[in-house]
Every structure is written in structure tokens, then in C-alpha cells.
Symmetry: C2
Subunit: 353 residues, 2 copies
DNA sequence: CTCGCCAATTGAACCGATTCAACATCCATG
DNA sequence: CATGGATGTTGAATCGGTTCAATTGGCGAG
């Protein structure tokens, strides 16, 4: 590498060496058509001789004010983008949209919460996609300060002033519940995502209804809509709040199967929960869907590959990513938009025996 | 969002409004300790009132010359980073190292080959990690022009002038072959990665030995080392060049099982090939490892999850990523370095029946 | 009361390009 | 031969900060 061999060559040096003004030299690189061929070649030749690396981006950038890249931010450590199934599917959609628009993609995150603020402040991007699986509030706040266009995904709050892409959680949850009811299930338990901070375990319908998080609230509302119409009282069914991880789901299932009537079906508010639950049940020798049916939510790729494959409510994950990018790049619709979801029936649900 | 409400506020405006010089205002943000508290607070207050978004990065950048981010580049479309198992494992390592060093991560790629050049030229990064699974030559060339530190991974050429992290392909291949020989296999076929451009199918030992790609060449060399020492002639064994995709692997297996003696074991030069082959065999009702044993190469996470789990040569994938980042960030060892690999015995190999 | 010193602040230069009004050429036209 | 219009080139202003030498003001020591 021609590294450190000499102080880096600047446009000015090239211009001087080629005997043209800096303005002309600049044109040679950024608008070659306006420069006479003879001059252009001479400049390019001297540039090569001097080992000029091309117009520095920072200089150009300073003028242009555009980076031509979008940032994707989350509270999780950066690995998350490559390991979490939902994040991956989403990123694939985002990546595709970026490719299509010739935009770059920067990952913004931090193991350490303090650094996150700094990283968001200092990311060289034209806008942000916010992945709000967790800690969405803070993420939005931090990003707001930056005063760049942004779009929140999987946001857990209802605040209409936040540009966000959401999915039809109520409709999706209703579809999931309807599917079970139509199969003939009446004894249905709910494995929910969070209603409040740092808590898990059995909750009452009233507690669930008072949830801070709109995602959990909307989904339970959807379930109830259908189940109560089918004559199943919200107070009669077991509802468990989980932390979307193995430990809490296992603890809830322990409780569920130790106390009270055994359910014939489980409504899980995420595929992750559903998959963990399925694993737990099978380890206990409880057949899925033979003894217990399970419906997930999200539609991550893993759900199609499990044994049995998971019946779930599929979000248009890649589409969410694509739209978010477009919204930022075109400074397009910066408002709230809702996308539909779809019931995907697979092998984890059947009529009760 | 306070968008377009007024032309964006600059440091100069804040300074003027607060009645201090621009220099002091700058210090308030970038070296708060040198400014008297009273002044600092006044400036910060006016900044907030004016809706100042903090020092613009471009201005700062221009001075600092450092972006504090590294780019990862590949020839594949950007989705690749989130979908390919090897890339994902690698990116996880890279991401971790970036987190640890407070560096940002930019993905550089392009569906369209022409755009790739532009994207590499215009990525705002301090250095590149090159993912050379394919088209590594061009990628290296493009990156060189940029005159930034870089590190090539999975590079298929021997050029010692290219800073690269490689693994011990010969040793790994030898270990794979040794494992099979020790189990008692004598009839062994090789499913190879590419030896030449746009070709697949059965090849002679001489053709394989003449390979342009050092990766394929090193691995076949490792196989031969052990097998010939065990008295198995290189000309007696079936070698197939694949394109690391389903179509070519299937075609090769068709050929292998239709003509000549049936092997009791297969050496695959990638986990991808091995997994495809295993699937093909099982579809044909050929038991793995009952009738045919398979050894892969790479050690991607998927290999541990297959049925049966794949015996393979594991590369220290995450470690490769980590080291590459460190090399770039510290302007550390910019040379060539070789990392060891490890035989991981799982369920896809057994003694021949 | 003067001197020297320290801390806080200022003002101007600078980072590396782009952009644009003004200027210089050259050629065709009336 | 003056005039007008292309075409190409120049020089200076500009982008939004950071940095540093110089300046100011306050305070203790002599």
C-alpha cells in the first residue's frame, strides 16, 4: 500500500501540478463533461502520477450535505442484527431497498447504553430506521435530537407524533383467535409479551388491559374480541406475561400446567414465545398439536422450519423494511401507517381431541 | 418534527445568540471542560432554545479526518449479509469487535457491479473488511484505489501483497481426510469448490491441481496428503467441481452415483455443499452416515442443526471477523495471517458398513 | 502598585472539496 | 469588422465546524 509514503495528495496539489485552477480540477472529477478532453486527460494523468486517491468524501460531503446512507438503530448490541430472526428478515428487506436506491446502510447500536446516544449522534447517515423491539422510547428520543428523518418499527407506544410503521395487531390477533375457535378450542391460554416493565407471570385481564405497551394491548384486545364473541369470558382464561425469553416462558408454562384446567390451545404473542413453548411442551411429552395447539405471531422464517411448522400471524416483515427506507429516502410519508397481517396455517394447530 | 420550520441552526448562530465567540461555542460541545460552567450553561441553553442539533458531523469530520466506522464490502447484494450463514457468523464477530471499540459498521455492496465501485469509493469509513467469497480480485482492486486500510477474508488467491486473514486450509482438509481414513473409509469422493470459472462436474486430479483458486487448491492438497499416505491414489478417487449451489451439487452427485464404484464417504469443501449433498442422499433413501459418511468444511451454525448434525472442519469464524476489525482500527498487523481450524466430529460420519 | 501567571475567551486560519459569477477564447453571422 | 453566442476556465466564496496563537481579566506575590 502506498501508505504514509507522503502526505496525502489533495485536489489543490493536483491542480497546481497540472497547471489548472482548483475549480477545473474539481470539475474533472465531478462533472467531467464540462472539461475539455485534453485538459481532462492531463489532469487525470497528473492525478495518477501523484497518487491522488480521488476527491475526498469529507470535502465533498461538506458541500453536498448528503451522505446517501441510512442508519438502522436499535438498543441491542450490534450482533442482534445478524442473529435475531425477526431482525434478520427485516434487515433483508431494508438491504434490498437500499440496494435498489443506491443507498448505503449503517448499523447503529451499542452494547453500552451511554455509547448509544453518542453513536446515534455521530452516525453519518441521512436518516434512521428505528428497531424498537425494546427500549423504543429512549431510542426515539435520542433520534429526535438528531433532527433527521426517521421511521420507527415495532413501536410499542401509541404516540401519534412518532413516525412509525405498525401492523394490524388487533386484526391479526383476532384472526389467530378465530382460527382456534373455528377448530373447536374453548380452553385457550395466552402467552403474552410484556405489559409492564421487568415483570412476568400470571396476570389478570384487568392488568393486561391496563398495559403500557400498545403492542401487547392491541394483541390481547384482538384475542378478546373474538373469544368473548364466542362466549369465552376474558376472566376465565389464563393469561401470562413473559419476557420473550426462555426462562420466563418456561416459568409461565410451569404455572399454567400445574394449576387450573389444562388448555387445549395456546395463543402466543410472538413466534419466539411460541417456539420456546412448543419445545417445552414436547420435552414434557405433550404432543403438539395432538394435545395442545399453538399459534404464534410475527411470521419469522424459523417458524416455517420448526417441527411441526408453526401456525402463525405473518407480518409483512420485508415490506416493513422496504417502506421504512423509502419513507426516509424520499422524505416520503412521514406519518403513521398500518400494514395488514396474514394468518398462516401450518402444522402446530389442529382440532382438540 | 421541527422540520423545515427554519433554516437549520449553525454553531455560528448559537455563538452569536449566546454572545460568545464561535470558538468558545465549539468548545462547549467538544471539550466542555475548558469552558467556564456559567458560560457553558448559557450556551447550552441558547442552543436548546434555537433548536440546535449539535455540531454537524460533516464539519467536525472535515477537521478530524476520522469517521470512526469500518465498512464491510462484498460483491453480493446486501441481503447476503443477513441471509448467508457464513456471512452472518462472520458479521456477528465483526459486530462484536465494533461494539467493543465503539466503531460504527457500514455495509457496502451493490446488486449492480458498476455501482459497487461507486459505493466503495463513496463509503464513509476508515477502512474495509473485504468478504471475498466471490469476485475477490475485483473487490481488492477497487478497495486499493481508495487507499484505506483493508483486510481480505476468505481470499481465493495467494498474492502475498494483499493483507488477508486466511485459515489453515491444508491442515483442515488433512484433518477431515484423516478422520475418514481412521474410521476405515477407502472409497472416498470429493465435492469441491471451484477450480476454474463457470464450470462444474467431474474433474481429473491434474485439473484440480492446476486450480486458479488457492482455497480449493489448498483443500484438495490437504485431502491428498493424507489419502495418498494411506495408499489411496489421487487418480483413483472421484473429484467433482461444484459451484457451491444446489443445482451443480445435485448434478455431480447424479454422475457420482450413476457411474463407477459407490463411495462410502464424501469430503465436501464447504458446509453448504455438504448439507445439500446430505439432503440429496437422504431423498434418495441413502442413509447418512449408515451408507455414506459426509464431512463438511467451515463450521457454520447450520451444520450443528442438521439431521444428522454435520461433522465438519470449523473455522474460527467470529475470530476472523474480530481480528480483521482490530487490524483495521489499530492500523495493526496489515500482513497476512493464518488461523487454525478444528475438526468437529458430529453425527454425519461413521465407520463404513 | 507593579509584575507575572493562570484560566477563560477570542479571532482567524484551516480542513478539502464544490459552485458560480465573471472572464477569456474562438467561431459564425450580419 | 464589430457582435453574439458557445465553450472552457478561473478565482473567490462557501460549507460547518476545530484548533491554536494571541488577548483579556483576575489574583496573589513581591
Amino acid at each position: 500500500m502506498a501508505k504514509g509514503s507522503e502526505a496525502s495528495v489533495k485536489l489543490k496539489d493536483v491542480a497546481k501540478a497540472a497547471g489548472v485552477s482548483q475549480g477545473t480540477a474539481s470539475n474533472v472529477f465531478s462533472r467531467p463533461d464540462v472539461v475539455r478532453e485534453e485538459v481532462r486527460e492531463r489532469v487525470l494523468k497528473t492525478a495518477k502520477e501523484l497518487g491522488y486517491a480521488g476527491p475526498s468524501l469529507t470535502g465533498r460531503l461538506l458541500r453536498a450535505g448528503k451522505v446517501n446512507a441510512i442508519g438502522v438503530a436499535t438498543v441491542e448490541p450490534m450482533k442482534y442484527f445478524f442473529e435475531d430472526p425477526f431482525a434478520r428478515a427485516l434487515m433483508a428487506g431494508i438491504a434490498e431497498a437500499c440496494d435498489a436506491n443506491g443507498a448505503g446502510l449503517s448499523l447503529v447500536s451499542a452494547g453500552n447504553p451511554e455509547k448509544l446516544a453518542w453513536n446515534i449522534q455521530s452516525a453519518l447517515v441521512d436518516g434512521f430506521v428505528l428497531l424498537c423491539v425494546d427500549g423504543g422510547e429512549r431510542l426515539v428520543e435520542l433520534t429526535r435530537e438528531r433532527q433527521l428523518p426517521f421511521m420507527a418499527l415495532s413501536l410499542g407506544t401509541d404516540d401519534a407524533s412518532i413516525p412509525a410503521l405498525v401492523v394490524d395487531n388487533i386484526g391479526g390477533a383476532a384472526a389467530a383467535a378465530r382460527h382456534l375457535v373455528e377448530l373447536g378450542h374453548r380452553q385457550i391460554a395466552v402467552l403474552s409479551t410484556e405489559y409492564s416493565e421487568r415483570h412476568y407471570g400470571r396476570v389478570t385481564a384487568a392488568q393486561a388491559d391496563a398495559s403500557l405497551y400498545s403492542t401487547s394491548h392491541d394483541r390481547i384486545t384482538g384475542y378478546w374480541q373474538v373469544l368473548e364473541a364466542a362466549g369465552i369470558s376474558r376472566d376465565a382464561m389464563a393469561i401470562f406475561e413473559t419476557r420473550n425469553n426462555e426462562e420466563s416462558v418456561a416459568a409461565c408454562l410451569e404455572d399454567l400446567f400445574a394449576n387450573g384446567p389444562r388448555p387445549t390451545a395456546i395463543l402466543a404473542m410472538s413466534d419466539r414465545i411460541a417456539l420456546i413453548a412448543m419445545d417445552w411442551l414436547q420435552r414434557r411429552g405433550i404432543a403438539v398439536p395432538g394435545e395442545v395447539s399453538i399459534v404464534g405471531f410475527d411470521g419469522v422464517p424459523e417458524a416455517a422450519a420448526s417441527v411441526p411448522p408453526l401456525t402463525t400471524i405473518a407480518q409483512p416483515i420485508a415490506e416493513l423494511g422496504r417502506r421504512a427506507v423509502l419513507a426516509i429516502l424520499n422524505e416520503g410519508p412521514q406519518g403513521r401507517e398500518m400494514l395488514p397481517v396474514e394468518l398462516v396455517v401450518r402444522g402446530s394447530t389442529a382440532a382438540p381431541s
